[in-house]
């Protein structure tokens, strides 16, 4: 039931969550529908034409940087690569900040906790060589390397984190992105911090709390499978525990 604004111009009904950490509400906007329009285009159009105070975050606009993720009609999406036509529900869009993260203002949320958890999951690379050593040769077909072919493509957009119900129910849980990162390093033969890492992901907030809902996998825009990475961590930590290594 698209209303018409001017001649032959279809209009989208858009609800955008406006507010800050202490609360907020949905504001209604009417946005002209365009060919090949993305959700980020819609948000940008509102800010440029209707309300310059609307806050949101984006950078590359081509699905590389991972900054523009938002909830669109209740599902986490990378807004720069999500076409309006594909997610429009009854000519309406509801755009909200990502779930499971504190809001700063409007559609921009505070990512601190998300990245702190990468640290807590020992997501940093600890080199085992110095600059005077030779570069380690890693065959692209080796088991460790192929296990993380997809996992290393993470762009830190926090869509998996927003999709994860375990994060919602157990806020200390490290979450799919941090654990997926840890799994890529567990498979990195150049890293020499493995015992510490396996211990870190085995804590009360670690990989064993994952229930394999696979919401992370369902919504990951880069088609990464964090559930499989977490299953890998479960196996690695179980083995290390049973053999007395951690």
């Amino acid at each position: 039931m698209a209303r018409r604004l001017g001649l032959h111009q279809e209009v989208l009904q858009v609800n955008v969550w406006r507010g800050n950490a202490s609360g907020g509400k949905h504001c209604h906007y009417e946005v002209p529908s365009l060919e090949s329009q993305t959700i980020l285009d819609v948000v940008t159009w509102i800010q440029r034409n209707l309300d310059p105070k609307l806050s949101y975050r984006f950078a590359c606009r081509v699905g590389m940087c991972g900054t523009c993720a938002m909830m669109v009609n209740g599902k986490p999406r990378w807004t720069c690569r999500t076409h309006v036509r594909k997610v429009l529900d009854n000519n309406t869009l509801t755009i909200e900040p990502l779930r499971n993260l504190p809001v700063i203002k409007d559609l921009a949320c505070d990512m601190s906790e998300f990245f702190d958890k990468w640290d807590r999951a020992q997501g940093r690379f600890h080199p085992s060589k110095t600059r005077s050593d030779d570069v380690v040769r890693i065959p692209p077909t080796s088991v460790h390397r192929t296990q993380v072919d997809a996992a290393i493509e993470c762009i830190n957009c926090a869509i998996c984190y927003a999709a994860c119900d375990v994060v919602q129910w157990n806020p200390d849980y490290l979450g799919p992105a941090a654990l997926n990162r840890a799994w890529t390093l567990v498979n990195d033969v150049r890293d020499n911090n493995q015992t510490v890492r396996l211990r870190a992901v085995s804590s009360d907030a670690g990989c064993h709390n994952c229930h394999s809902h696979q919401s992370c996998t369902t919504y990951c825009p880069n088609e990464i499978n964090p559930t499989a990475s977490i299953a890998g961590l479960k196996r690695a930590t179980a083995k290390a525990t049973l053999s007395g290594k951690i």
Partner: protein, 113 residues
Amino acid sequence: MLKPHRHHPLWFAFIVHRLSGVCLALFLPAHFYVLGLALNNGESLDRFLHWTEHPLLRWVEFGLVFCLAVHMFGGVRLLALEFMPWSPKQKTFAALAAALSLLVACLFLLRAT
């Protein structure tokens, strides 16, 4: 409860696994208590078993058998997911677990009535 991001088959598989698990955990003390009635030679156990012949209870038992089966078959899927090489057929496996469990529960109902 059913937020949009939860509308996918493997989330439903999770909620079935969790609710069936909770039902079984709540039923188990009663089940053990009733079996314990056999301590004094089966008479009070018989009285209880006689009481369970009420037709409505067939449906409760049907539910419990389904819970047990679906928690077990669904659990086997999760064990395979965690301890075996990744398979992309998780939705198929979850559907299979549900179908097998329904079959088992129906078989029970047919034999019980």
